[in-house]
């Protein structure tokens, strides 16, 4: 997946949920290329919280096995878009 494969609106929505759930300060930019762990210093507890919030918000089940590959905001957005066609379309 590349950042260009997802809708900007979906990326923005995912970014907003990440920011709210992990309490990322407004001064820290979150883009489609942002890496959750390396760029946002999200720890394992934060990551579980983000995943749960995304599941609730988009009504999509994020498989546990998939989580290690969802490193960037774009990966999450693409995963959500693929699992639920209505998302981001």
């Amino acid at each position: 997946m590349t950042p260009t494969m997802t809708e900007p609106a979906l990326v923005a929505e995912v970014a907003a949920i990440i920011r709210q759930s992990a309490k990322i300060p407004a001064r820290v930019p979150i883009t489609s290329a942002t890496r959750l762990v390396e760029d946002l210093a999200i720890d394992s507890l934060d990551l579980v919280g983000v995943i749960l919030q995304l599941q609730d918000h988009f009504d999509v089940v994020i498989e546990e096995d998939a989580v290690p590959n969802l490193c960037r905001v774009a990966d999450l957005a693409a995963y959500l878009a693929a699992r639920r066609p209505a998302v981001g379309s």
């Binding site: 309490k23 934060d46 919280g49 599941q55």
Partner: protein
């Protein structure tokens, strides 16, 4: 006797204001923070009267980033009170002089993070999924309040979290003093925090008939501010509230070394157990607790110039407490000014006695007794409850007492200090 222990900082977060000054001003003006709240609607709650704190916690402008991820509300209230007390002691400006390993944190609560537990349980049911927030366990633990205060104020001494129902805050002060007296710490942040507005807790108190219920003709039906009316003839149950209170204690040596300013001296304390009933107070044991504190203080009962009461506004508590005061103070009971600030604040359960300790310190500093508001005389309760109007008085010694379900009592005796 060990070296004297002083209170060098005090703070409260209540339904009358999210800081000590606004709480105090509201109390001495005779205001009530009790309201009806649409969020406590009849579809889930048996009582919609409450004393809620505004402008503190997640989603508010004053959100504390240190605990923003932990949505159990008692943590936010406790952190705010602890930070304010620490700042009131000016210890935030003396961090370099303080050995952080000699600073204790004792923060109690009766219910801890039950609000978050219930929110997560509702989420599980709604989603038909066993997934819960990864913050649930850390945030709901009662000792997390002490943990967060320790983490964010950088205090690495002894830590404890008394869960002694409605006596938790007073017990926290006692435990903090005991750490100092035992030589385990030089300063201690002590207090309690509570926010337990979940349907099971509210409805549990309501079905016990501990809360004021709806009754045609009750003066609270037209004016919710009159719902909590300790020692009044028509008292009919307490009003639940949330909040937090905190004191900073310091040994005399620490006061001198750190250049702290004593606000009051913690002269003596006592705790004991009723061993009597799960919820009903025990006159004899409570009297024993108060007598023990007086004996340890070396004071004659007549030296107490203000009794800050537990005064919940339930029929039984206020009756038993009045009897206890007569038992303990004897003839001096007739001259003793007594007041319950729960008329204005409602009953914040575990936090109440910490708030009352902070208010007792302020009363000594201001030489002013906060009134029992909404008071209407009960011929059977015939002492001086400082009705409805604050009273200027010479205050050298104040006693504040609290009692909790499970039969747990405490009494603190404070002395005025002159700087």
């Amino acid at each position: 006797m060990g070296e004297p222990i002083f209170i060098v900082g005090h703070a409260a977060v209540t339904c009358l204001g999210c800081d000590m000054d606004s709480t105090w001003q509201g109390l001495i003006a005779g205001r009530s923070g009790v309201r009806r709240h649409a969020g406590l609607g009849p579809e889930s709650f048996l009582q919609d009267l409450a004393g809620l704190v505004e402008d503190v916690g997640p989603g508010t402008a004053a959100e504390d980033p240190a605990i923003a991820k932990l949505s159990a509300r008692f943590l936010h209230l406790g952190m705010r009170a602890a930070r304010a007390a620490w700042s009131d002691a000016r210890l935030d400006r003396r961090a370099a002089a303080l050995d952080p390993h000699r600073a204790a944190v004792v923060m109690g609560s009766a219910f801890g993070g039950l609000d978050l537990l219930e929110a997560e349980q509702a989420r599980m049911i709604k989603r038909r999924s066993p997934a819960v927030s990864p913050y649930l366990i850390p945030a709901m633990l009662i000792n997390q309040a002490a943990g967060q205060i320790s983490q964010h104020l950088g205090l690495y001494g002894p830590s404890a979290a008394p869960a002694n129902a409605c006596a938790s805050g007073g017990h926290a002060v006692v435990l903090g003093a005991m750490f100092l007296r035992a030589g385990e710490a030089d300063v201690a942040v002590c207090g309690a925090a509570e926010s337990a507005f979940t349907p099971p807790v509210v409805n549990g108190f309501a079905t016990m008939k501990a809360l004021l219920g709806h009754k045609p003709g009750d003066r609270a039906e037209d004016d919710p501010a009159q719902a909590s009316r300790p020692f009044s003839i028509d008292r009919a149950g307490f009003v639940m509230a949330e909040g937090a209170g905190a004191l900073v204690l310091a040994t005399e040596t620490a006061v001198r070394r750190l250049g702290l300013e004593p606000q009051a001296e913690l002269v003596a304390w006592s705790t004991n157990s009723d061993g009597h009933h799960m919820a009903m107070p025990c006159r004899d044991r409570i009297a024993h607790c108060l007598t023990a504190a007086l004996r340890r203080s070396g004071l004659d009962p007549s030296a107490i110039q203000y009794y800050n009461a537990h005064g919940t506004s339930t029929v039984l508590n206020d009756q038993v407490e009045t009897q206890v005061i007569k038992d303990v103070f004897g003839a001096a009971a007739r001259q003793l000014p007594i007041s319950s600030i729960k008329g204005g604040l409602g009953h914040s359960l575990g936090a109440a006695s910490a708030i009352e300790a902070a208010v007792s310190v302020r009363a000594l500093c201001a030489q002013l007794i906060p009134p029992t508001i909404n008071y209407q005389p009960d011929p059977e309760l015939d002492l001086d409850y400082v009705p409805n109007q604050a009273r200027a008085a010479r205050l050298d010694h104040v006693l504040t007492a609290s009692f909790g379900f499970g039969g747990t009592n405490n009494a603190l005796i404070l002395r005025r200090t002159t700087s």
